[in-house]
Amino acid sequence: MDLSQINPVLLVASLMVAATPLLLAAIGELVVEKAGVLNLGVEGMMIVGAITGFAISVETGSPWLGFLASAIGGALLSLLFVLLTQVALANQVASGLALTLFGLGLSALLGQGYVGIKPPGMAELDIPVLSDLPVVGPILFGHDPILYLGIALTAAVWAVLKYTRVGLILRAVGENHDAAHALGYKVVRIRILAILFGGACAGLGGAYISLIRVPQWTEGMTAGVGWIALALVVFASWKPWRVLLGAYLFGGVTVVQLNLQAAGVAIPVEYLAMSPYIITILMLVILSADKSRAPASLGRIFHASH
C-alpha cells in the first residue's frame, strides 16, 4: 500500500469530471419534479443526448454545436413524454419507462455509423496565471466549460426557485396544480416547459459522457447514470445544492475507490465498489432528516376539468 501515489489534486479534478453528467441530469430532473411531473426517462434522454451531441460534433467539428444539439435532442425526446403525459394524460411512470427503452433503442440506431470515431476535443479553460497556480489551478481553473455550466446551472436553478416569481409559480404547480389552475396559471404549459428543460439538461449530461468523459460513442454508454440521477433528486430532498453535493460525493467516492484499489489498499474491493452508492445514500438520508418532502402533486395527472 502506498498512498503517496495518489495525487490529491488530480483526484479532486477528476472527481469533478466524473460528477458532472450526474449533476446535469439530476438538476434537470429536479426542475421537472418541482413542477409536479415524474419523468423516469432520464436515462433515455441522456443516451439520446449522448449520440446527438456526438454525431453533430463529429459532423461539424465543433463540440459547442454538439452540446447544443445534445440539449435539443434530449428536449425533443422529452417532447414525446409531453405528448403522452400532458396531452394524452397517460400514466407518468409507464411513459417514463417507455421513454428510456425508446431512447436506448433510438440511440443505438442513430449511433450505427459512429462507433470507433474520435470526437473533436473541447479545449480546457486556460486562463493565464490562474490556471497555472499550484493546487487551485487544476482544481478550479483547469476544466472544460461544460463543467462550469453544470455548477452555474445549479446556482441558477436554486436562485430561480427560491427568489423569483417564476420559481414560485413552478413550485405552486408542483405542490397543488388545482390551486395554481384556479389562480389562472397555465399548469400544462408550465409543466411542458419544465419537462423540456429537464430533457435538455439530461441531453447535456449524456453528451458530457460521450464528448468529454469517455470520449467516444458506445451503445448503452450511459450505463445507468440516469437512474442514479433520479435517485439523487429524491435523496437530495429536491434541493439544488444537495444535488450538487450528492453528485460530487458520488463521483468522488467512485474515483477515490479506484485510486485506493490502484494504490493497493487492503480494503476488500467489494466494499470499495459499493461505497459510492452507500456513502451517497447515507449522507443524503442524514441530510434529509429535516422533514423535506416531495412536491405534493408529484406524478399526478392534471386535467383542467377536475
Binding site: Q112, I209, R213, P215, Q216, E219, V255, N259, V269
Partner: protein, 357 residues
C-alpha cells in the same frame, strides 16, 4: 368462392407454409452481456452469429438479445428463447453459468452452449478460448515498452478467466523486464464505458504507461489516447480504430468457426456435450496486427512467442513458477494442467495485492 372463405384458405395456406418453413429452419439464439456495438466482446460474438447466417443462409434463423444482466433476468430471457423454439442457444458470458444449467434442465431438447464456464450437462456444452496465450504475447510487449515500469490492468470480475490473464501477462512482462510492477483495478462490470475510462485514468495518474484491460468497451483506449504516451491492447476485438497508438496490438476472439460447427452439428443431429478450449493454434485466439509503434525487434520477439505457443512448443505457464505467497507451484519445465488453469484462483509470485474473494 366467397371472399371470407378465400381469406380463410389463404390464411390456412400461409399457416401451413410458415409451419413447414419453421420445421426446416434451425433456430439459433444468442444471449449477450453487452450491446452488439460495444466494439469488443459482444461485437465479436455477434460477428460469429452473422457468420452462422452467412454460412447456412435460409436454413437457419438466428435471434439475439443484447445487454442481458447476469442474474435472474438471464434465466427469463433464455426461457423465453427456448419457448420460442430455439434449437441451440449460446449464452456468451461467464455469469450466465447457473442460469444456463437451470434453463437447460427445463428444456432437455434444446441444446445450450455456455461460454467461458465449467458446468456441463447432457444438453449443455462449454466453450472458451485460451485468452491467456494472447495475454502472454501482450505481456511481453508491455514489459518491453513500459518506461515507468508500471503496467495498469483493468479487471472485470475476479474469476479464473481474468486471473489467468493477469498471471500470464505478468509472467511474460516480468521476463521481458524484471523491474515491472502491476497495478490492478477491479471494475466489477463487463461493460460500463464511463467506469472503464475512469479506471484507466486513475491508473495513468498513478504512473502506468501501459494499460491492459479485461473489460469489453473501447473506453480505456480513448482515455489512453487522450492522456498520450500510453499504450493499450485491443481486448476481445481488434479495436484497430485506436491503432497505431495507443493500441499497439490486440487479442481477437474468433468464434465464427466454432459457432458454424456447432450449428451444423445440431442440423445433422450429431451434437453432443463437449468441453472446448481452443487457443492460438486452432485460431480461436488471434493476435491483432502489431503496430509500427512497437520496435521491429520487440515485434519479432512477440511473433516468435506467438508461433512457439501455436506450435505447442511453449506453454505460457511453464515452471519454475511460484504462487504469490512463495509456495512452489510448477517445477522447472513443468507445465500447468488444464484443470488448475480452469479454476485458477491465485496470483503468481511477484504480483502485489489480493484477489477479491
Amino acid at each position: 368462392m366467397k371472399f371470407t372463405s378465400l381469406l380463410a384458405t389463404a390464411a390456412m395456406a400461409l399457416g401451413l407454409a410458415t409451419a413447414a418453413a419453421a420445421e426446416d429452419k434451425t433456430k439459433v439464439g444468442f444471449i449477450y452481456v453487452g450491446p452488439v456495438g460495444d466494439g469488443g466482446w459482444t461485437y465479436e460474438h455477434d460477428k460469429g452469429r452473422q457468420a452462422v447466417e452467412a454460412e447456412f443462409g435460409d436454413k437457419v434463423e438466428t435471434v439475439y438479445v443484447e445487454s442481458v444482466p447476469e442474474g435472474p433476468d438471464a434465466e427469463r430471457v433464455m426461457t423465453q428463447m427456448a419457448l420460442e423454439g430455439a434449437d441451440l442457444i449460446f449464452t456468451t458470458s461467464f455469469g450466465y453459468m447457473d442460469a444456463t444449467i437451470n434453463v437447460a434442465k427445463k428444456f432437455p431438447d434444446v441444446k445450450f452452449e455456455h461460454a467461458t464456464g465449467y458446468k456441463t450437462a447432457p444438453n449443455v456444452s462449454v466453450y472458451s478460448a485460451r485468452f491467456y496465450e494472447g495475454r502472454a504475447v501482450q505481456g511481453h510487449i508491455a514489459g518491453k515498452m513500459t518506461k515507468s515500469n508500471i503496467i495498469g490492468y483493468i479487471g472485470s470480475y475476479p474469476i479464473p478467466e481474468v486471473i489467468r490473464g493477469i498471471n500470464s501477462a505478468f509472467i511474460h512482462a516480468k521476463k521481458a523486464n524484471p523491474d515491472v510492477q502491476f497495478k490492478i483495478v477491479w471494475a466489477y462490470t463487463w461493460f460500463d464505458p464511463a467506469k472503464e475510462a475512469d479506471a484507466a485514468k486513475v491508473l495513468i495518474e498513478q504512473g502506468a504507461d501501459v494499460i491492459l484491460q479485461h473489460t469489453d468497451s473501447t473506453a480505456p483506449q480513448a482515455a489512453a489516447q487522450k492522456a498520450g504516451n500510453v499504450i493499450t491492447f485491443g481486448q476481445a476485438s481488434d479495436m484497430s480504430e485506436y491503432a497505431p497508438l495507443p493500441r499497439v496490438s490486440s487479442i481477437i476472439d474468433n468464434w465464427a468457426p466454432y459457432y458454424i460447427a456447432r450449428t451444423k452439428a445440431v442440423m445433422d443431429g450429431t451434437w453432443e456435450t463437449v468441453n472446448t478450449w481452443h487457443g492460438i493454434k486452432e485460431g480461436m485466439v488471434e493476435i491483432g496486427e502489431i503496430s509500427d509503434a512497437v520496435p521491429a525487434e520487440v515485434k519479432a520477439e512477440a511473433l516468435a512467442l506467438k508461433d512457439a505457443i501455436a506450435s505447442g512448443e511453449y506453454h505460457p505457464f511453464t515452471g519454475p513458477l511460484n504462487k504469490q505467497d512463495g509456495t512452489p507451484w510448477l517445477a522447472e519445465g513443468e507445465v500447468a494442467d488444464d484443470g488448475t488453469l480452469a479454476g485458477m484462483n491465485f496470483y503468481v509470485e511477484g504480483i502485489e495485492g489480493e484477489i477479491p474473494q
